[in-house]
């Protein structure tokens, strides 16, 4: 099919052609490892003067009256309390963290940034505010501001990007490559990293997840807390099996206000209790996955 092309940017299939995973050259991880797990923690600041991105409680008789204090507080709990629970789990199992953080949240929650920086977590850009990229007035300025804020706070330029709610314009990968990002994670279309063409140099996409993601599972599908553990294990076991001949990547994505709730935290912990024992599974950051793929994967198109 020929779809009408956007004036600026590219259609998805102009960035990467179709490629069946079964027909690719095998990818090998170091020391005989089969797969990589990367864990992304999402920290946001919700603007109390805007409609809340998600809600747990709808107002009596419906509608969405403003301001929405209960749902603002419900999210704020994650940064005051829930994050610190998740941090204990990462520390216990020595999981290298990936902090996916809004630019404004870097300034709002310095304690969180400090705790992650001390542990040498990777920080990736996640929009300056938690607003869809299609609605951001100046996309390039937004992406740049994220780099500046993260560099100032951590001393390092971010190498990875995940759009707020994974949203992109037709042009996002082009701008990200031009602004010096090495990888993006918005394209949830494979179990292996892939190259995306841009109008300049290509950019890597690393497999992220909407399936093993607490927003989708707990807030949209309304599963009970234990389902997060069960689905993660089902996902893990299948990918582990699939990765026999060629390496694969599994992502787990959580938000402190969801999996950091007291009644959910233990199901998150249980995942690592189980899979951390596997000797042929690597726990890496996004940047480590990118570096490995740059060295061992197919060259950029």
């Amino acid at each position: 099919m020929n779809f009408p092309k956007p004036a600026v940017g590219m259609l998805p299939n102009d960035r990467l052609g179709y490629s069946p995973i079964a027909k690719r050259k095998a990818l090998k991880l170091p020391k005989g490892a089969r797969m990589v797990v990367w864990t992304i923690t999402n920290v946001e600041e919700w603007d109390p003067t805007q409609t809340m991105p998600r809600t747990v409680l709808t107002p009596p008789a419906g509608g969405s009256p403003m301001p929405d204090i209960p749902n603002w507080c419900w999210h704020e709990y994650g940064n005051r309390v829930g994050f610190w629970r998740l941090l204990q789990i990462y520390d216990e199992f020595k999981i290298p963290g990936v902090m996916n953080i809004n630019g404004v949240a870097v300034e709002a929650f310095p304690d969180i940034v400090k705790a992650c920086a001390e542990r040498n977590w990777e920080f990736i850009g996640h929009g300056f505010t938690q607003r869809n990229m299609q609605k951001v007035e100046n996309e390039r300025a937004d992406i740049r501001k994220c780099i500046e804020v993260l560099e100032r706070a951590t001393g390092k330029r971010p190498r990875g990007w995940l759009g707020p709610g994974l949203t992109e314009t037709w042009e996002t990968p082009d701008i990200l490559a031009e602004e010096g990002y090495d990888y993006v994670a918005d394209w949830v279309l494979d179990d292996q990293p892939v190259w995306l063409k841009t109008r300049g140099k290509p950019i890597l996409n690393i497999p992220y997840t909407q399936e093993c993601n607490d927003v989708a599972m707990m807030l949209i599908q309304h599963h009970k807390a234990s389902e997060f553990y069960e689905r993660a294990m089902d996902q893990f076991e299948q990918i582990y099996k699939d990765a026999k001949g060629s390496a694969r990547v599994m992502a787990i994505s959580v938000h402190p206000y969801i999996m950091g709730a007291p009644h959910r935290a233990k199901y998150f912990r249980r995942i690592f209790e189980k899979i951390r024992k596997k000797r042929d599974v690597l726990f890496w950051t996004g940047a480590q996955i990118a570096d490995w793929y740059l060295k061992s994967g197919p060259k950029a198109p």
Partner: protein, 300 residues
């Protein structure tokens, strides 16, 4: 009020790990805070929650089905609650629309007789954003409750936890000392208002039968499962710092025959533990005011 404070101006960000632990009296570790919600759903208005969508998908008025759905809680369900709490010798916080004193005096009388704490929960059910005169409604709520019980409530929970930016200022002007609307912590906190400090107590929209049963559509026994998971985690953490585990229930939901046994089982689980206090909001406020002079002063 021209420029009411936004939440961040009322309360600075504070990470729980940076605060000195709170201590409960004696060997107590955790407070289990039961909040029972009794409401008045006026048939002339849209009903607060719907279980059964209208056949055409368009809600029609009057909505007798959901008026009756709620009414069941007042006729039948709440008596299962009274029986349970009497047996357990627990005096919950009653988050009530003040109109229950007029529309359901039999129910309100029972709560009063059983020594429950009356907490302001608006005059009747509906989002506070639609209230044309909040200070008058708040005053009417507190006056009605005081007239009925002889005691002026010290606590407040917005209907559906709704607030406008001005609400905390109106509440302190009316003498309210604590609110449950700010579900952003495991501990009490103090927020700033135009009339001095206001304490927030950690109410819950996670361990609450409205989101769990009516919005997320979990099975009945999940109320028990989540309560155990929530309590166990907070209990473990309460080894190092006092914690509060809130449970919010409604008679038309948890008072249903197929759910009540799970509610009863929650208390069976909780009461197996040492160091659990079944306090209501007013008791928690007294305790917190005694140990939080610094925080209260800072919000002057």
């Amino acid at each position: 009020m021209a420029n009411p404070m936004i939440p961040r101006e009322r309360s600075d960000f504070s990470a729980i790990v940076d605060r000195p632990p709170l201590k409960l009296p004696g060997n107590a570790r955790i407070v289990f805070w039961t909040i029972v919600n009794y409401e008045v759903w006026d048939i002339a208005k849209p009903m607060a929650r719907q279980l059964l969508p209208a056949p055409t998908g368009v809600p029609l008025m009057p909505d007798v089905v959901h008026w009756a759905f709620h009414e069941y809680g007042m006729r039948v369900g709440c008596w299962r609650f009274f029986e349970l709490f009497k047996k357990l010798k627990i005096k919950p916080t009653l988050s009530a629309n003040a109109r229950i004193c007029e529309d359901y005096p039999r129910v309100a009388e029972q709560a009063k007789r059983d020594g429950w704490e009356f907490m302001g929960h608006a005059y009747e059910q509906g989002p506070i954003h639609k209230e044309p005169d909040q200070p008058a409604m708040i005053k009417r709520t507190l006056d009605t409750m005081e007239k009925f019980t002889g005691k002026r409530p010290v606590g407040w929970l917005g209907p559906g936890l709704t607030q406008t930016l001005e609400t905390p200022d109106h509440l302190t002007a009316a003498g309210i000392k604590y609110i449950g609307d700010w579900v952003y912590d495991d501990e009490p906190t103090v927020i700033r208002t135009a009339n001095g400090p206001l304490v927030t107590l950690p109410y819950t929209i996670e361990l609450n039968d409205i989101p769990m049963m009516l919005i997320q559509h979990h099975e009945s026994d999940y109320l028990l499962k989540r309560a155990i998971d929530q309590f166990d985690r907070l209990y473990a953490e309460s080894k190092h710092r006092a914690k509060i585990c809130a449970l919010a229930i409604h008679p038309y939901i948890s008072g249903q025959p197929h759910r009540i046994k799970y509610l009863e089982a929650i208390y069976k689980h909780v009461n197996k533990h040492k160091g659990v206090l079944h306090w209501n909001g007013a008791q928690m406020l007294d305790w917190y005011q005694g140990i939080a002079a610094k925080q209260l002063k800072a919000a002057e």
